[in-house]
Symmetry: C2
Amino acid sequence: MPPLVTRVFPIVTLVRDYNRVSFGNDVMAALIVTIMLIPQSLAYALLAGLPPEAGLYASIVPIMLYAVFGTSRALAVGPVAVVSLMTAAALADITDQGSMGYAVAALTLAGLSGGILLMMGVLRLGFIANFLSHPVIAGFITASGIIIAASQLKHILGIDAHGHTLLEIVVSLLAHLRETNLFTAAIGILGTAFLFWVRKGLKPLLTRLGIGGGLTGIAVKTGPVVVVVVSTLVVWGFGLAGQGVKIVGDVPQSLPPLTFPSLSPSLIGQLLLPAFLISIIGFVESISVAQTLAAKKRQRIDPDQELIGLGAANIGASLTGGFPVTGGFSRSVVNFDAGAETPAAGAFTALGLAFAALFLTPLIYFLPKATLAATIIVAVLSLVDFSILKRSWGYSKADFAAVLITILLTLGMGVEIGVSAGVGLSILLHLYKTSRPHIAEVGLVPGTEHFRNILRHKVQTDPSIVSLRVDESLYFANARFLEDKIHNRVANDPGIRHVILQCSAINDIDLSALESLEMINTRLREMEVQLHLSEVKGPVMDRLQKEHFLGDLTGQVFLSQFDAMHTLSSR
Amino acid sequence: MPPLVTRVFPIVTLVRDYNRVSFGNDVMAALIVTIMLIPQSLAYALLAGLPPEAGLYASIVPIMLYAVFGTSRALAVGPVAVVSLMTAAALADITDQGSMGYAVAALTLAGLSGGILLMMGVLRLGFIANFLSHPVIAGFITASGIIIAASQLKHILGIDAHGHTLLEIVVSLLAHLRETNLFTAAIGILGTAFLFWVRKGLKPLLTRLGIGGGLTGIAVKTGPVVVVVVSTLVVWGFGLAGQGVKIVGDVPQSLPPLTFPSLSPSLIGQLLLPAFLISIIGFVESISVAQTLAAKKRQRIDPDQELIGLGAANIGASLTGGFPVTGGFSRSVVNFDAGAETPAAGAFTALGLAFAALFLTPLIYFLPKATLAATIIVAVLSLVDFSILKRSWGYSKADFAAVLITILLTLGMGVEIGVSAGVGLSILLHLYKTSRPHIAEVGLVPGTEHFRNILRHKVQTDPSIVSLRVDESLYFANARFLEDKIHNRVANDPGIRHVILQCSAINDIDLSALESLEMINTRLREMEVQLHLSEVKGPVMDRLQKEHFLGDLTGQVFLSQFDAMHTLSSR
């Protein structure tokens, strides 16, 4: 079999090696994941502002397409909280929730996101995701979790409220607080409390009862199913829908329909940036989960192929009544813990959900929306973690600034501005840091051949020689800084005859920096000072040799700083 | 005297030490610069789309304010070619040349630019200019020179033509070519040819006649004065103004007037970005000249104080009928070569120009605009230099891409888009390069304690140990790359028990990279592989010790790679 086939369709390798044991394990995992996914899919559709069945549809075809094109064996693809929130935020600017245009815009967003992911995969542009720094992601997820939880309070209380920033949501909630429906609030608050207890209290209880390991984790994850069943029975039994409790109501019994995204250039223009942000955020979330799970079994993930897998999944979502999807953390972990061995588990999950979409939707007619909101709130509050603020404050002020701005802008101005500002700021701070590199004046540690910072160590120096070690690659942003630094050091001290640049930490010299070095060389020559280099790395030396700089150098290139000092001191 | 005073007013130090010899030298330099500046100032006003007197005004008060606040002793501030072009481009979008609003917009642009420069100086933000890489500047100046020269052809031919991109200008010129005024064309072409000869032919001639050194350079620079005088006399003597030759005409005899920039928020909003670009480009041009001249006399330039000096000069220009100014290359070099010792030379130049504005303007009534265009063309074509394309191609493809895009976009879409795209692209390319750092797998050079790339050298390795040297600081953009690299290396080779990261070239580890290292450590632990570090730099170690990573590390931190190999191999 040619390798191209196995690269584009990683599943081929797996199909060849599939056996009965793997099949059994995959079916069992799929069953558990399906039960967990039903309420989750409905809830995330609600969060994205779409009818509940869209959540089921978004989990069926995408999961199968990912199984064919993706490289992770345990990743479960479908709607996730943050991407659903971003979908709602992107569509809010376009049209009203519930309108026909809204659903089409959601399909279009999924299609665009799929196209962007596919293109990034084919062009091997996965590295773009690396510009989302970990602190920015952590800050963004935390702020998104808060916004999502706040946005669901209206369902918990049974009132109307709108808004896409924390302030808008809170103001809107307060304005409508008097309209709270007490039955809805009772279901919502009890449901939330129960789910919190399942997360925090059930596991210790089960452990005390001697039930431990993976099974405990799965029991905890099925908590939402219990709440769904109980609250549906309560609403049905006591006729609470007549008391103003909002219910899911009629959901069509159908397999995913064949749908088409809009090709309107103006709609595509409006959705392009949100689709890009959703693609990047979704990819980052997905690849982290996939790699974490793969590492546990010493398996490999190919990030560029993952882009293609996720791209195919999103295009699938756009053609089957869905909305943007990605690899989710909790569902993938459940899948893995339940023993899924191959992507076939995903395919079986899709079958389970298709069965649910066809036959089970009448059972959720009386499911209160407050219950779905409770499952969302409990799920996302586990994402909220302000410890990144404390941690980054202690480790690096630049990282702290990036986190803080990301959190504040996400809460205050919405998800798109928040994450864009975070990325922009972290790039600027990185450039700023490298534009003012650490430059140490070094001297010889007596009795050794080592050179150390004269400010930190007792070292030998020669008044006619300045030795500088630059702890950064030289490029345009710091080239002039080095010019200034050397110029000022030499202009103030007429006794200097030699400047030695110790280049051991210089991994690259770009053309700007080369021209700065030439300028430094020329200016030093005019002050009758020689410029020398020492410990230039191989690749840097290769590049310098393409130019006339080494020929023009007033001084020499030494293999080691010790050679340089030794040679120049004895003159 | 408190040091603050001498820092904010660098001139104070000079005033104390001023003497008769310096005075004589400064007056002589001022005389030469004044003669050279009169045609240049008129020409750059024409280029900026303003009446000729604006060029004189822009050279008087700004030069005096720079003398008070600036740190360079020889820098001559006033209108320069590229900034004048950028002024014309910025104002073209706002209003028509010749309208009252145009002159006010020019004052406002100067005022905004002055404010931006002052603010950058006070906040010590001069480093922002460093993000203009040398290749981007070179490409931008070359493309600007071509656009300027093309834009002046209409004056040479005596026709109407408009446009701010090369294509627009050429199309417009061709459309009006039939309207060429032959008298104007004769003056323009002869003037241009003479000035080219002065540049290329006069110097060798003078040298052959035994007249050399600085004097030759000054003679060359006064070429434009000769053309101005001769062409004015010709137009006056033969009555060519009646034959359609466009002349400068009435210029008010006046000292610079007191003027005020507009405070209209919409105008300021439109001009803010162009003002920022003009400030940055002007600052970069000015500081390069200042530092080059200062180095020749072992003097110091303070970049942040330079921002304040240029800011004051531009605010002065906006209050006295001028337009954006900066330190110019040719005028500063003439000033320096003519023996200027202190900023007093600048003040004397200002007096000379004030005298010209008051008394000499009737003499230029018959000066043809074609002559001014000829001086501009000859001046800017010396800026055009495509060798940067060849040079960057040979040295670094990333630099080449940045130059090429800058030139093409500046020519094709105008100066603002050109320079912005160049800066953006060079930042992205830098980030891309550092996001895929060179990671060498290293082994021991037999008989030494040195470790080298296993692909380049014959070295000893141990099949259970992988030693990797990362030639880049670790930060968010390359953290995941390292994760993938290590994961793939280890996942493919079940015999590996130890991974050693040789950290000698790692100058910084940000929080994202730290989290990646933690992730690598965790994943390797799950594969039963230990992670070790060697040769961690002091500042990096200081930072790592603030966190629990070193405690969680499955392996050890070794002082040297040799220690690490020695210890782990013997296990």
